[in-house]
Symmetry: C2
Subunit: 445 residues, 2 copies
């Protein structure tokens, strides 16, 4: 029930900046403390993926602060996936309906724009302030700024400090706090395909490119400068892994065998492979996400997921827009607001964590199977005929605002139906038939 | 491959003290740092369960340092469970074969004896040293001792600092460290049944008493002073919970309804219920348990479990004896020793974590069902006739050294067999028949 005056936000990343704008627009005094220096005055630090796929949930979050159109303009629409097989043959699979796309955007550009807007709304961002500890009851935090130690006490402490959150660290030490961090046994490494000499893209620009190789994959997302950022997702250790490719020669041979068309477009392969880290991917789950009415977590700090559905940022932005809707409804009853926020978001965060893990198998393995592509063709046809009964799972996640958990449940039902359809011995011939359509329909009427 | 000279152990609890003895006996210099004061010079602090059930795995750990017989003498053998129904009727269920018992021992007495022995072996125990951080690579740790800050650098840093381990905290911040802490939604509160005026026990002494009430339970373990320590395991929140019993009157009424025979023996009920905390129970899992060849976790620091199988301490003591066996085999190859230690123990720690959770349901619910008791009677009969095919799960866990994971797998097979046996419509009449025996036997020949 306390009234809030000063909101202290730890972390000026994508979600922290957006959350700060939301709160400043409501009239709160908001101060943001960021560990790094101001990326608007420096080159972006390496190691994190430099482009992201923004989809409808993310745009809705941006719409709440009026910058969705602006961001759409600087993004590159991707209408579908293009699969590259070992021989270099291409297969296209559309993501949604005509006109629906996900957008490749630069993490740096987006973050800079959000920080600009936050400052325009009166938010003060303090850079090079490393959080060294917090007091949850007092909504206060300590920061190291150069040699200075600074203590800040606000009315609400907001952890938007990502998967390795300091604010969450303090919560972890409190009784009844459930927490898990789990590293999948894959790592990723970024590489690049530079533009043609005339500045154009070397691959079809309006698509997400995938080289699915069953146990591993390479993907490429377009950048506005004509380049593509490629990411290799590969086992960390084992017979064929980052550990086993322990010389640049072995790595190059490996790429030549599995990704020869991509390698031919990577003039800086050797340098990049050597320099860029093989980074881990962690899934973080916890509960509660709030402490009394004095602290809360939002974005990756509350729910870090693997990147395979392109939903990490989108989910964090949706946290912001849902929080804002609840804020409208509950006004200044902070106790109720924080309880309802974590209650409404937790199951959906768990659902997208699960969906993201599953999508790794789809992307690296299933998209290369003709039977999977046929299944998707049957689903698309049925969905077009009976949109009231069937929205494809990918579309529910990417092009809708259906709660993630509802999408997961509906997707599981779809998969059960399709497994039985795909078992028909002559499905390749009859996939387009009335019989198949009726059999699917029988599950809904 | 490094040779070790100084072993630094963080935590002088049961496992820390036992581990220190093992290492001192091998000729290492061992220093132990304990947060609390010396319990041999003070009364034991409240809040942790004051008695524990020591069984065969624990005794084997103690045997390795030659004190199993001594400890057995100060423990109270419990041959089985006595169930108390609401009307006060008693049912006895033997734990193992004749002569097999688990032992109720005082945590404080056992810990004091282990510390005495550790010091006798040359171990130096530093009390009131609170660990404030560690450096894993350097096998060093910082301690707060009064106003002093002390830094200790050894050759191996050993975290025996329990479920809330500081050493593990440092590992959690390293890449690829998987970790989870999960609080079950129950809490526990300790109460007591004092001795009769003549010093004798008010209940059968050689048994573990259970008041199974489906969603909650009370248990009682005998102490050598004639008293029983009772523990109420009860939902933390909800319609009938510690939260809902928010006055001492409500708590007393509740006990009168559900545990009237116990309440009649609890003259200090009101005072104890009010004073003693309702404490949480956390399950901790992590991996790896080691850092290079410079640090390791053992006992609850690596794997905290719920108390319902009475195996927490036993598992920690088994860690010590297994570590010692591997040590014999690998001598001073510390890299190999630490890798083999965590590899051999992890799946077994996970298995007992699972078994302990399941045993809560057995203790609070199933033991009150006649069909469960009949099932156990059939199993006992078959096990006696065919010991080569069937050791009851409880006996595998409690009276054997079969790896916990093997016990879990074998137990699951037993349960599948028995579920089909118990479905026979006339099982109450034919449970003793050749037909039933043959049907069970068919699964093994």
């Amino acid at each position: 029930m306390t009234e809030k005056s000063l909101i202290t936000v730890v972390g000026a990343g994508l979600v922290g900046s957006l959350y700060a704008i939301y709160m400043a627009k409501r009239g709160y005094k908001v101060e943001v403390f960021e560990r790094r220096n101001d990326m608007r005055k420096a080159t972006i630090s390496a190691g994190r993926s430099i482009n992201l796929a923004l989809s409808d949930r993310g745009f809705k979050g941006l719409m709440g602060v009026g910058i969705d159109d602006e961001i759409r303009k600087i993004g590159i629409p991707m209408h579908g996936r293009i699969m590259h097989d070992v021989a270099g043959n291409l297969t296209f699979q559309q993501y949604g309906n005509d006109g629906q796309s996900i957008y490749s955007v630069s993490r740096g550009d987006l973050n800079c724009k959000l920080m600009d807007l936050a400052e325009k709304e009166g938010v003060k961002i303090h850079f090079e302030h490393k959080c060294t500890g917090v007091n949850l009851d007092e909504a206060s935090a300590n920061f190291q700024f150069g040699n200075e130690k600074i203590s800040v006490k606000g009315d609400l402490l907001v952890g938007t400090d990502g998967a390795y959150s300091e604010v969450r660290d303090a919560m972890q030490k409190t009784p009844w706090f459930n927490y898990s961090q789990y590293y999948i046994d894959y790592a990723y490494k970024e590489l690049s395909i530079p533009p043609n000499e005339d500045g154009s893209h070397r691959l079809e620009v309006n698509a997400l490119h995938i080289w699915p190789r069953k146990d591993f994959m390479l993907i490429a997302l377009p950048n506005i400068d004509g380049s593509f950022t490629c990411t290799l997702f590969f086992p960390k250790s084992g017979a064929l892994s980052f550990d086993s490719l322990d010389t640049i020669e072995k790595a190059e041979t490996f790429f030549g065998e599995h990704f020869s068309d991509a390698l031919a477009m990577m003039p800086h392969f050797r340098e990049e492979y050597k320099t860029n880290p093989a980074a881990g991917m962690v899934i973080v789950k916890c509960f509660p996400w709030t402490w009394k009415s004095s602290a809360m977590l939002i974005g990756d700090a509350a729910h870090a997921i693997v990147p395979f559905y392109g939903q990490g940022m989108n989910c964090g932005f949706e946290d912001c827009s849902i929080f804002s809707e609840l804020h409208d409804a509950q006004h200044e009853d902070w106790d109720l607001l924080l309880r309802n926020y974590e209650k409404s978001r937790k199951e959906n965060a768990d659902a997208i964590a699960e969906l993201a893990l599953r999508n790794f198998i789809e992307m690296r393995d299933r998209v290369a199977e003709p039977s999977f592509l046929l299944q998707k063709k049957i689903e698309a046809k049925f969905s077009k005929a009976y949109p009231q009964f069937w929205t494809p799972l990918y579309s529910m996640v990417t092009f809708s605002h259906i709660p993630y958990n509802d999408a997961l449940v509906a997707g599981d039902k779809q998969e059960r139906i399709m497994q039985s359809i795909m078992k028909k011995p002559n499905i390749e011939e009859i996939w387009d038939s009335q019989e198949v359509e009726n059999e699917i329909l029988a599950n809904f009427i």
